[in-house]
């Protein structure tokens, strides 16, 4: 079938127009679709966050009803977790994994198409309920029970749109599972000859492990929402005390999914950073093998820490002790990774182009988030932190200045490969510095108000939290606006406006993705390369 011809020997042109995107089975196109979708959801989720921060600018209810506010916090979380972060990483996986392992495409290209196209429909369903709510359709309209949708608030008091929410979650789950299966099959079966598992770039390793996590836990989420559905409509009592059920069971099932889920949202980030720092330090990644083992340990440990989200639920001592110890333990492999990145930088010859800036910011700020996570692990003190803004600060540090920053790093790093032009330097620098400062203005003071006693998911607060909330909101608006700069960067690259990028777009870059031209042609590695 394939020849070693240098020219594209297809006798038909690559499809164009709407059909190209609707029916694509090409990993690059599908990757592009995922990435644009993820960015759109990031902006949508961000818009909801703007509503939240506008209301929290001052004490008192100025703009929205507390009911609507709860809908904002809920859909913001859902959109960001399931619409922005996860699809974003899947998009990066789609674009980069075949290139990095020397494969012509993902192993299951048609399933790949389906995996993507489910998502816009899932989110149309979810977000339409927000529009309906905003324009007075009902009281309440959109889901309002937090992205964690605890029972019985969600099962017995949820609005009508809860059932659509369940459908939406099922669809997103199927998309994720199919995507994960695709990654595993691709990595196992399509590696170029000579590329053993321990020669793969770390990004591929972290995604491989993430994919296993996804297959293990997304079905559990599906189970949880199915149980929710049957409790709501088919007379079961999984979570209903009246029927002999237990609301706490919901929390166990949810967090059994939920905790590995947050590692799903960060392991690919670790892979990205592990690709970028060696490039710009001009030095190989320190401790490749231990990075692989650390990632695997984190993934395994992630299954036995779930109840640290439930310390206040009334668990007996043995339970809280076990989960406290396991949670503390998971900081060890995570710390190992951070130290390895620093050791990679050490005695390197560093330049600080945009991808490196984002990567270093990630290392510092993610570590900040990880350290507050360690504080949260200590159960007796967690009693004072749980459900306060201290937790909100923690997870935004690891998710925004962690996962999201890693995705910006990846974008700036790989945009030359995707588009053929270097990202606009001025806009990029503005985007970086503006985001860096505003993200800290936005989330750092949350530690303070959380410690001082402000609970989370609060539409209004006591007066002593007013000053910091004001600045947090300013930070939020600033951070939100800064992302428009990134939109501009992406649009310019998409329009191919910029300095032409060579195949090896960054001086110290190594890996199979840099052996193909920039922009990467529609088909690459139809003939597998030889890896020594």
């Amino acid at each position: 079938m394939s020849t070693a011809a240098a020219h594209d020997d297809h006798h038909h042109h690559a499809p164009t127009g709407l059909k190209r995107w609707l029916f694509s089975t090409n990993h690059k196109d599908i990757g592009t679709l995922y990435l644009w979708f993820s960015f759109a959801m990031f902006l949508a989720g961000g818009l909801l966050a703007m509503v939240i921060r506008t209301e929290l600018l001052e004490p008192g209810m100025q703009f929205v009803d507390p009911e609507f506010f709860n809908q904002m916090t809920t859909v913001h979380g859902l959109a960001m977790v399931f619409g922005a972060v996860m699809p974003g990483f899947v998009g990066l996986a789609n674009w980069m994994i075949p290139l990095m392992i020397g494969a012509p495409d993902m192993a299951l290209p048609r399933m790949n198409n389906w995996s993507f196209w489910i998502l816009p429909f899932a989110f149309l369903i979810l977000l339409s309920s927000v529009f309906m709510s905003a324009f007075g359709a009902g009281n309440p309209a959109a889901p309002n029970f937090g992205w964690t949708f605890y029972a019985p608030l969600s099962t017995e008091y949820g609005p009508a749109s809860t059932d659509l929410f369940i459908l939406s979650v099922h669809m997103m789950g199927i998309s994720s599972i199919m995507g994960a299966i695709n990654v595993i099959v691709t990595v196992f079966n399509l590696r170029a000859p000579g590329m053993t598992l321990m020669k793969m770039p770390l990004f591929v390793w972290t995604w491989l492990i993430t994919a296993f996590l996804l297959i293990a836990v997304m079905p559990v989420l599906a189970g949880a929402v199915t149980m929710m559905l049957t409790d709501r409509h088919f007379g079961t009592s999984f979570f209903n005390a009246a029927g002999g059920g237990d609301p706490v069971l919901f929390q166990h099932v949810f967090w059994f999914f939920g905790h590995p889920e947050v590692y799903i949202m960060i392991l690919p980030a670790f892979g990205i950073i592990s690709a970028i720092i060696p490039t710009f330090a001009r030095k190989p990644l320190f401790g490749y093998a231990s990075m692989v083992y650390a990632t695997a340990s984190i993934a395994l440990l992630s299954f036995v820490v779930w109840a640290h989200h439930m310390f206040t639920v009334g668990m007996p001592l043995a339970g809280t002790l076990f989960f406290m110890y396991m949670t503390m333990l998971i900081s060890v492999p995570t710390g190992v990774k951070v130290f390895n990145w620093v050791a990679t930088m050490w005695r390197g010859s560093m330049t600080f182009e945009l991808p490196m800036k984002w990567a270093i910011a990630f290392v510092i700020l993610f570590t900040c988030g990880g350290l507050s996570g360690l504080m949260l692990a200590i159960t007796p003190v967690d009693f004072q932190y749980h459900d306060t803004y201290f937790v909100v600060a923690h997870f935004h540090y690891v998710l925004v200045s962690g996962a999201v920053f890693s995705m910006f790093a990846a974008a700036y790093y790989w945009l030359p490969k995707w588009s053929g032009v270097m990202p606009n330097k001025l806009l990029g620098e503005l985007h970086f510095w503006s985001s860096l400062i505003s993200v800290n203005l936005l989330f750092f003071p949350m530690h303070f108000v959380g410690l001082a006693g402000m609970p989370r998911r609060y539409a209004d607060y006591a007066l002593q939290f007013a000053d910091y909330n004001f600045w947090i909101s300013i930070g939020g608006f600033w951070f939100g606006l800064s992302q428009l700069l990134f939109l501009a960067v992406c649009v310019l690259c998409a329009m191919k406006k910029g300095e032409k990028a060579p195949a090896r777009s960054w001086e110290g870059a190594e890996g199979l993705e840099w052996e193909v031209p920039s922009p990467a042609p529609f088909h690459t590695y139809d003939t597998p390369p030889v890896v020594k």
Partner: protein
């Protein structure tokens, strides 16, 4: 490797992973009985047995007294009184004790109720044996009726020494609609 070979390998891996995904979906549901069994064995969530204890206590432990407290709670939708005749009793483990509860229905229609017990500390739950309890069955209350509902229990003689007070709470729920739905 040949194209066909690759396809076969892909399909095989795909099948294995799909099976695993389906298995994890099943696992989510399996968590329910797992949870119940673990809670049963350890009493973790404070749930007591839902059936009457048939064997009586092996002995009465005279040299210790345990305080058993009773609290009641109305679940959503229940608007009558729900109280216990006594707030607390001092018992010896193994001693059989009767406590009366009262529930009333102020509505003009009949209701069916289900009382759900909960014990604190949770670990004490499996040492609480009830030979008779209104919580084992649904209790119907006619319009305007006030009912006396007895509960007979004893504490297991093996009750750990560090537990000297335990609280038994009953929450009464109106399950009239649920019963109607299942009977349809």
């Amino acid at each position: 490797m040949s194209e066909q070979n690759l396809q076969q390998r892909n399909q095989r891996t795909l099948r294995k992973l799909l099976i695993w995904a389906v298995a994890m979906f099943g696992f989510a549901f399996a968590m329910v009985p797992f949870y119940d069994v673990i809670c049963d064995i350890t009493g973790l969530n404070g749930k007591t047995s839902t059936t009457a204890s048939t064997e009586g206590p092996s002995q009465v432990v005279e040299d210790r007294t345990v305080t058993v407290e009773f609290i009641t709670q109305r679940g959503e939708g229940v608007n009558g009184d729900f109280t216990s005749a006594t707030r607390r009793v001092e018992v010896h483990p193994g001693e059989i004790t009767l406590v009366n509860f009262f529930a009333s229905n102020p509505k003009s229609s009949d209701i069916i109720t289900q009382s759900i017990p909960s014990v604190s500390p949770g670990e004490a739950a499996r040492y609480l044996h009830k030979t008779q309890c209104f919580c084992f069955d649904q209790q119907s209350l006619a319009a305007g009726e006030r009912k006396e509902m007895p509960m007979i229990f004893y504490l297991d003689p093996e009750l750990p020494r560090h537990i000297n007070t335990l609280t038994l709470s009953y929450t009464i729920f109106d399950v009239t609609d649920r019963v109607a739905a299942t009977n349809k």
